[in-house]
Amino acid sequence: MRKSWWKVLAVVLVCYTVVGGLLFPVPRLPILNETIRIVHFHPPLWFAMIILFTVSVVYAIRFLSSNDLKHDTMSINFAKVGIWLGILGLLTGMAWAKFTWGEMWSGDPKQNAAAIGLLIYFAYFILRGSIDDQAQKAKITAVYNIFAFAALIPLLFILPRLTDSLHPGNGGNPGFNAYDLDNNLRLVFYTAVIGWTLLGIWFATLKTRIDWINDKIEDKQMVTA
């Protein structure tokens, strides 16, 4: 129990944000109206995705310096969970865009960048599938992971600031602070970021442990066979 307090915390925080995000009073703003509630889901999912991808890259670097396959399993699983959060973030963002910007896909630079970012990670999984040898696979995909992450950063953080974006805080649009992200809203928002991140870490570590156990079982079967 002492070790798993953060898992409880993750569940509590996510439940809190789901309930709070839907029920708490929100500021009435033109155009946004009630859709501002998505602020509790869409940006936190992206934040959590970026954090998980960063962890994945850190494990890729650790794998390259240690050659320990356990780090590689960690790296791939963090990327896998990250991509799920990314897909959810994209879908919630599209729903939000439908009601505020009028279209699901309005060619906003951040939307495009997000789609490209997902493509990069899908390519990462296909690359993984195309190599048979375990050690080779780990090494090559770790290199691609680091390389791709470095390419993703300018995409997500620099490009949208250079062009006109519909997103708040870009291309001359005021940031959300200007829309008076009032304290209530902010409380739920940061709670959501922490909650989704912890939930993601939980999923990733769980999957990693399953993979390790499967590896061990396979090794045993090889020995007995």
């Binding site: 390259l64 490209i116 970012g117 493509l119 990069i120 390519a123 296909i126 690359l127 195309s130 190599i131 050690a135 080779q136 090494k139 090559i140 770790a142 290199v143 691609y144 680091i146 390389f147 791709a148 470095a150 390419a151 300018p154 995409l155 620099i158 490009l159 250079l162 062009t163």
Partner: protein, 223 residues
């Protein structure tokens, strides 16, 4: 110093290989030229009636595809037995530096040729030509170093050309987007200070990619 000698030897080897099997180089040149010719015939109009955005975008797509085809073979042609031999005599950093330099030279030649043929066939509506050429070169240098690294990865993943394409397309997109934007500015003759951001990002991307390639390639090479 030792590194410089090795880089020189590798560059010499690259040029020699290219000279001996001329069909590869000629093939790439023909590929670029015939793609441009297809665009010319397909649009069947002169530059005057073609909207500048289409003109610009088309050139970049041609450059992108030529780059992928030209650079893809930089590692695909190395077979594994020879790699073992290379591994025992040179440092991986020398190899990647030489390959990147070679890719850059190849791309510069290819891009200049593409621009000339393209301008002849489809007209040249560019207002600020020096800036346009600068952007073209900066972007193709970034493309070539990125694609060289991707080609090294793809070569390890079983020399599959589909892998090369899917790995490289999303990664080169930031470069292409920046380049299209900056070159569009150059085309419209907008003040140079307006495109300074894009050009800085392009140069920064170049630096990041080359640094990463130098750091990561030794891990790919060693196995």
């Amino acid at each position: 110093m030792e590194l410089m000698v090795q880089v020189k030897a590798w560059l010499y080897k690259e040029f020699l290989m290219e000279w001996r099997q001329k069909y590869a180089l000629n093939g790439i040149i023909l590929y670029t030229v015939s793609t441009i010719f297809i665009c010319y015939l397909a649009f069947s109009i002169r530059g005057a009636s073609m909207s500048p955005i289409v003109w610009n975008t088309m050139l970049w797509i041609i450059v992108l595809f030529s780059a992928i085809n030209a650079i893809a073979k930089s590692f695909l042609q190395e077979n594994s037995q020879r790699s073992v031999y290379y591994y025992s005599i040179t440092s991986p950093v020398a190899i990647i530096i030489a390959k990147i330099i070679y890719g850059m030279i190849l791309m510069s030649v290819l891009v200049s040729l593409a621009l000339i043929v393209y301008s002849v066939l489809l007209g040249n509506p560019v207002d600020d030509l020096p800036l346009y050429i600068f952007v073209l070169f900066a972007a193709s240098l970034a493309l070539s170093s990125m694609l060289t690294m991707i080609s090294a990865i793809a070569a390890k993943a079983g020399n599959n050309s589909m892998i090369m394409a899917i790995l490289s397309f999303p990664i080169v997109l930031p470069v292409i987007l920046m380049a299209i934007k900056a070159s569009k500015n150059a085309m419209d003759g907008i003040a140079r200070s307006e495109s300074i951001d894009e050009i800085l990002v392009l140069i920064a991307l170049n630096v990041i990619i080359i640094t990463l390639a130098l750091l990561l390639f030794p891990y790919l090479w060693r196995n």
